[in-house]
Symmetry: C2
Subunit: 200 residues, 2 copies
């Protein structure tokens, strides 16, 4: 039995519980589409995914299969167990009304991944101020090591590419199909995901 | 009248209120010493310094004079108005008991900047789970743009080097003299700071 594939429509988001041991596969069905991922300890929402802890322990800004994503309390929340892309971002916060005003003053303002995550996570008790730097699946943010300049380039993901995580604790997950033009090669596409339950 | 210089003893931390318009100068009196800096909106502690927002708006991981440090709500908290060093870190969380166990298993565990900040900020109502990625003054974390590998090297700051910030809102500031061997060239030194009040 293969678990069903869920679709996150373009420029939207969702949230769900991922139990310890469950596998989450985030799929880019058309290519060049980013998915922002957040994780909270389902038993204590004050424990949350931490870019700073993770990058410190990994000694690496580009994470891929074998790397672990840590919480603000230095506990492993997720392990990356498979990755067909190898380029994701863990530096930048989800796009928001404010980032639209800053980067796209000529475009209609969108609530962005931040607004989508806040809405999706609200029923779980997560408030907007608790949204940290997300693990941005497929987001391509190269750094110039000399100058420190960063660029947001189109993802290198092709249709069907995916990244798979194993949950190390019971988690509330927030996940989006990203809304920012530059992050997604200029067009907005859905994201697919699949949960393979450890209990199945 | 020159404002007094305060000393943060080696491997310790402090917290204080910085009013809008006040200038904070963080000084490395001996050279090669890191100071982790946190900022919270003094009127609403849920608004907090955000590496992800700041790096996104700056399009740069190495921040210096002219850059602004943003909150999780996309408001400017601090502006860097002077900087004699030009190399600071805004990727990594403060060192902690857990990071000591991870990186220095052969050394006595220290509560680190995280523990020092938690203790110094507790009287202001900041709880440990609210401590995010700090702006790590003088911390030298070069990135290999090809591989994404990061290294924690000795600071390039010399005795007397400093970085100066202007507060854009009333802030609770946490500030340390960092406790981690690798971050500080292998020895622990004090940090000095000075507050030039806008009201003076």
């Amino acid at each position: 039995m293969t678990a069903p594939v869920h679709e996150i429509p373009e420029r939207s988001g969702t949230a769900f519980v991922l139990k310890a041991g469950d596998m989450l596969t985030v799929i880019d069905p058309r290519g060049e589409q980013v998915a922002d991922l957040l994780a909270f300890n389902a038993r204590d929402l004050d424990e949350v995914i931490s870019s700073g802890r993770t990058l410190d322990y990994a000694e690496m800004i580009y994470l891929t299969a074998g790397h672990q994503l840590y919480s603000n309390r230095s506990n492993v929340m997720l392990e990356i167990v498979a990755d067909t892309v190898g380029r994701h971002d863990f530096l930048l916060t989800p796009c928001s009304v404010d980032t639209f005003r800053h980067f796209y003053p000529h475009l209609p303002v969108h609530r962005g991944c931040f607004g989508n995550l806040a809405a999706a996570l609200e029923p779980y008790g997560v408030t907007p101020d608790r949204i940290p730097v997300a693990f941005n699946c497929f987001m391509n943010v190269p750094i110039d090591g000399e100058t420190g300049k960063l660029r947001v380039l189109p993802p290198i993901s092709k249709a069907g590419d995916h990244i798979q995580f194993r949950a190390a604790m019971d988690l509330v997950i927030g996940l989006t199909a990203c809304s920012a033009p530059d992050s997604n090669g200029g067009s907005f596409k859905p994201i697919h995901y699949r949960i393979d339950s450890a209990a199945a």
